[in-house]
Amino acid sequence: MKSAVIVFPGSNCDRDAHDAIETVTGQKPAMVWHQESELPEGTQFVMVPGGFSYGDYLRCGSMASRSAIMPAIIAHAATGAPVLGVCNGFQILTESGLLPGALMRNAGLKFVCEKAPLTVENANTQFTSRYEAGARLLVPIAHHDGNYFADAETLDRLEGEGQVVFRYGKNPNGSARDIAGITNEQGNVMGMMPHPERAVDAGHGGTDGLALFESLLGSA
């Protein structure tokens, strides 16, 4: 599977994303600089990694959502190809309109880094097909702005359409309805605050994120 990892000047999970993808797919992803305007020929999977894309001085992900590479990512998503945004990547996908809702400052107002218990709410997506529905996972989180917010109508629709993919076991940030990860309506764009790329190795963070990348490989 040909993959691409988008690199903004303040991305800091790009190497972790690169290594996780290489570990699972056996293929090195292309590292695509934010000032590019096209994805490499034949790219299937696009990952927008965590970090502080442009320092997060305005609103997290807001400047990145206007960067040169974004139109190419939006066009790629429109073809139905998989796009995954993790942490700052999730923020960028909501800011760019690829996903509904917004991520606000954590309810506790502090940065939170811990291993978060998650439940797989929908195992019927191309990101989660290798999980059992209802499976309980432990995946690291590390963010200051992960408090998922959307209006009640949107939340109802997300729940109704199976777009809520991961839910927190113990809400760490005040997210509406304990939401940790969602997809778009078509199910090919997913955003999540927990870091699956930090959970693909028994020696670091556990292996509960492995099946996510394996699901993608299986669906490609």
């Binding site: 000047p9 303040g10 991305s11 800091n12 999970c13 190497r15 972790d16 290594d19 996780a20 965590g50 970090g51 502080f52 442009y54 320092g55 997060d56 001085y57 502090k110 940065f111 939170v112 880094c113 811990e114 690291p140 590390a142 200051h144 870091h195 790329e197 930090r198 190795d201 020696g203 670091h204 963070g205």
Partner: protein, 741 residues
């Protein structure tokens, strides 16, 4: 010769922290009176912070060389060999004064500064650590300072994308007026691609990269070289403001530039900014420099040379390039959207010449700035060493379980999860053990290998106060022990020597005592000092902090499959203490928490025993016989057992026998000891090996149940212990929220 140049007065010279004797040297070296720019440059270069004028005479006694040392003190950071052509580069530095005045920015820029020291040398930073000391928990400023410092450390490290993997936090009334914020950075580089401040030659372009220069932090180094008084908070404008996003870009851009062969010498602009970076490279290269101040990227209008030379604006570097290679820097730094400008060139004159708006505003020889910096043999007297305390003279409590609960939920012993949850400990995906894990040292894998770095920060200020020499020894020994307890080979240390006013003989005596103790421990344990920092004048209204020589230790785990932690104890495991227990309650946590006393002598460290016991434990870890290992330090055997029990979710039945009183046995802080847990057959093998090696070992208990007990009595249920241990710090910090509401 006129005594003062136009516009300069005796008062202005004094405000620059230059005394009469020092001023006379300046007059002699220049052959004329200095102008304001020149005076400012001498002032910062000769400040305590930059020149180590009170400490240099003693630092030379610390061992700094060894088989694995590639670069000792004198460069931006120390460099050690970790095999396979790889090097580890690390340093610890204080940011005490600014953090007290403005906790968020003070701590944040402390992290930024120490990161630059490490990547300046060509290393990719892979881990951050810290050693924090705050005043008494009940002091009115403490929660505010804790909250700001922690947010600042996290705010910077999290954004830069370097994991903050560990540290230590103490509370003591001795820090009420001067908190300590010591930050350590650790990086990895190829051993054949390390960059130094030395190496520049005449005729090379001087390239400025990074952020623009503003008026922030002017005279920060001078501030850090003076005591505080009640008006110190007025110094807030001398605290710099950090921008971790720019630092992140600077790291990536510098590492890209370093992958080319275009650099002759490189230096970050830290304390005393443009002045110290340019002087240090010129001095180490034995050359001169000429800078055109009009070319310096400026954030504000109408800046004077004085302001530009003394600004401590953050996230800036100075690079001396090979001639004709400036384009390489321009291309890389433009890509990262950072300022880049050729601001001058190196010369063969040995002079520092600055021009601004067509005029020469400074023309002074470089050598005196570095070589003639004052070096004081300050008078001192050795502080009185407190007498040892006999445990038999301390009242025996009736219920050890309740005592253990009280100690484990006391400020220094309680869980610091409230702090480390605010630090990204996992970014870079190589953290094998951090603050959240039951490990005596943080463990960070060397990317793509089976090797890992073990990293620790240690110091027990109450021992240093009771007995500077033994305290200095103990700080080094404890760092060595913590690395050993993970199975690592300890390699080298960095130090951050925090003391009061060196012009007071008693304080200077503490400094000398600690240095001598450290030197002995470094020599005996083959654990040299490769980098460090001295922070003096940690004193307010004449009250000094407890002597605090913080040690940052680094070791190597050759194979990740052969290491230990203290969360692996299983039911039925035998518990063994390596080392002798005599019940040292002097200057102990027990005495402070239970008796509200801080008297008695510091525990003594026998370095031969320390080494023999540690080498034995490391060997046993590598043999794979041990299911859990923990060093014995603050709070002694009972607290180590409590840690192991909570982490393993398994009770421990301790047994007490012999002549040592039970409280001394359980809570004594005798040195050179470890607690091991092993299955019965492994335990027998360990005991046999110990006998053969002449290492003292004692079976002290058995794993099982849901409580820590002693002789079948004094039960403390783990659930209750955990709730108290975890609850103290959130309870303290909630007061802050309530105060704000």
């Amino acid at each position: 010769m006129t005594q003062y140049a136009e516009g300069i007065t005796a008062e202005i010279v004094k405000e620059h922290g230059i005394n009469d004797e020092e001023y006379a040297v300046i007059l002699d070296r220049l052959g004329r009176a200095p102008n304001l720019v020149e005076l400012g440059i001498f002032s910062v270069m000769w400040s305590e912070h930059c020149s180590y004028k009170s400490s240099r005479a003693h630092l030379g006694r610390l061992p700094t060389s060894g088989e694995k040392v590639i670069q000792g003190p004198g460069e931006n950071a120390g460099v050690i060999d970790i095999g396979d052509g790889q090097a580890c580069i690390f340093k610890m530095e204080s940011h005490n004064h600014p953090s007290f005045i403005e906790p968020y920015q003070g701590a944040a820029t402390g992290v930024g500064g120490i990161l630059r020291d490490v990547f300046t040398m060509g290393a990719r930073p892979v881990a951050l650590m810290n050693a924090l000391r705050f005043g008494a928990p009940e002091h009115k400023k403490t929660t505010h300072l804790v909250s700001g410092v922690v947010a600042g450390i996290g705010g910077y490290g999290n954004c830069v994308g370097v994991p903050t993997v560990g540290g230590e936090t103490n509370f003591h009334a001795g820090y009420n007026g001067n908190i300590l914020v010591n930050a350590m950075a650790v990086g990895l580089a190829d051993a054949d691609n390390i960059f130094y401040a030395r190496g520049a030659e005449p005729g090379q372009p001087i390239v400025y990269v990074g952020s623009k220069t503003g008026r922030d932090g002017i005279h920060g180094a001078t501030m850090a070289s003076a005591e505080f008084d009640d008006a110190s908070e007025e110094k807030r404008p001398t605290v710099q403001v950090g921008d971790p996003f720019t630092e992140k870009k600077l790291i990536e851009a510098c590492l890209e530039l370093m992958a080319t062969d275009a650099i002759a010498a490189i230096q970050d602009m830290g304390a005393a900014g443009l002045t110290s970076s340019s002087v240090e490279m010129a001095d180490k290269g034995g050359i001169g420099i000429a800078l055109d101040m009009d070319k310096v990227p400026q954030r504000e209008t109408n800046m004077t040379t004085y302001e530009m030379m003394l600004s401590e604006s953050q996230e800036r570097m100075l690079v001396i390039m090979k001639p004709g290679r400036e384009d390489v820097a321009y291309e890389i730094f433009k890509k990262w959207e950072l300022d880049v400008a050729v601001i001058g060139e190196t010369t063969d004159t040995g002079r520092m010449v600055l021009t601004h708006k067509g005029e020469t505003v400074c023309d002074i020889p470089v050598a005196p700035l570095a070589d003639d910096a004052p070096k004081y043999e300050r008078p001192y007297f050795a502080p009185e060493v407190r007498a040892q305390l006999n445990a038999k003279d301390v009242a025996q409590p009736s219920h050890m379980g309740e005592i253990l609960l009280k100690i484990m939920s006391s400020p220094d012993m309680a869980s610091k999860a409230w702090i480390w949850k605010q630090y990204d400990r996992h970014v870079m995906a190589d953290t094998a053990a951090s603050s959240e894990d039951p490990s005596d040292a943080a463990i960070v894998r060397v990317h793509g290998t089976k090797k890992a770095l073990a990293i620790t920060t240690d110091c027990t200020p109450r021992y240093c106060f009771a007995n500077p020499f033994e305290g200095g020894k103990q700080a080094v020994a404890e760092a060595w022990r913590n690395l050993t307890a993970t199975g690592a080979d300890p390699i080298a240390i960095t130090d951050c020597l925090n003391f009061g006013n060196p012009e007071r003989e008693e304080i200077m005596g503490q400094f000398v005592g600690c240095i001598d103790g450290m030197a002995e421990a470094c020599a005996k344990l083959d654990f040299p000092v490769v980098s460090g920092n001295v922070s003096l004048y940690n004193e307010t209204n004449g009250v000094a902090i407890p002597p605090t020589p913080a040690i940052g230790g680094v070791g190597l785990i050759p194979d990740m499959d052969q290491r230990a932690h203290f969360g692996g104890m299983r039911e039925g495991d035998i518990l063994i203490v390596v080392g002798e227990t005599e019940g040292a309650l002097g200057a102990s946590v027990y005495l402070k928490v239970i008796e509200n006393r801080e008297d008695g002598g510091a525990p003594l460290v026998d370095l031969d025993v320390e080494k023999a016991n540690g080498d034995f434990v490391r060997g046993q870890i590598r043999s794979g016989r041990i299911s859990a290992c923990h060093d014995l330090s603050d709070g002694g055997l009972a607290c180590a057992a409590a840690d192991m029990a909570m982490a393993s979710n398994m009770g421990i039945k301790l047994a007490h026998e012999g002549n040592v009183p039970m409280h001394g046995y359980l809570f004594g802080e005798d040195q050179g000891r470890y607690l091991l847990a092993a299955a019965k057959e492994d335990a027998i093998a360990i005991l046999q090996d110990a006998k053969a090696d002449g290492v003292p070992v004692h079976v002290v208990g058995l794993a099982g149940g849901t409580a820590v007990t002693v002789n079948g009595a004094h039960p403390l249920e783990l659930d209750r212990l955990r709730a108290a241990w975890e609850g103290w710090m959130p309870g303290l910090m909630e007061q802050l929220v309530e105060a704000a509401e």
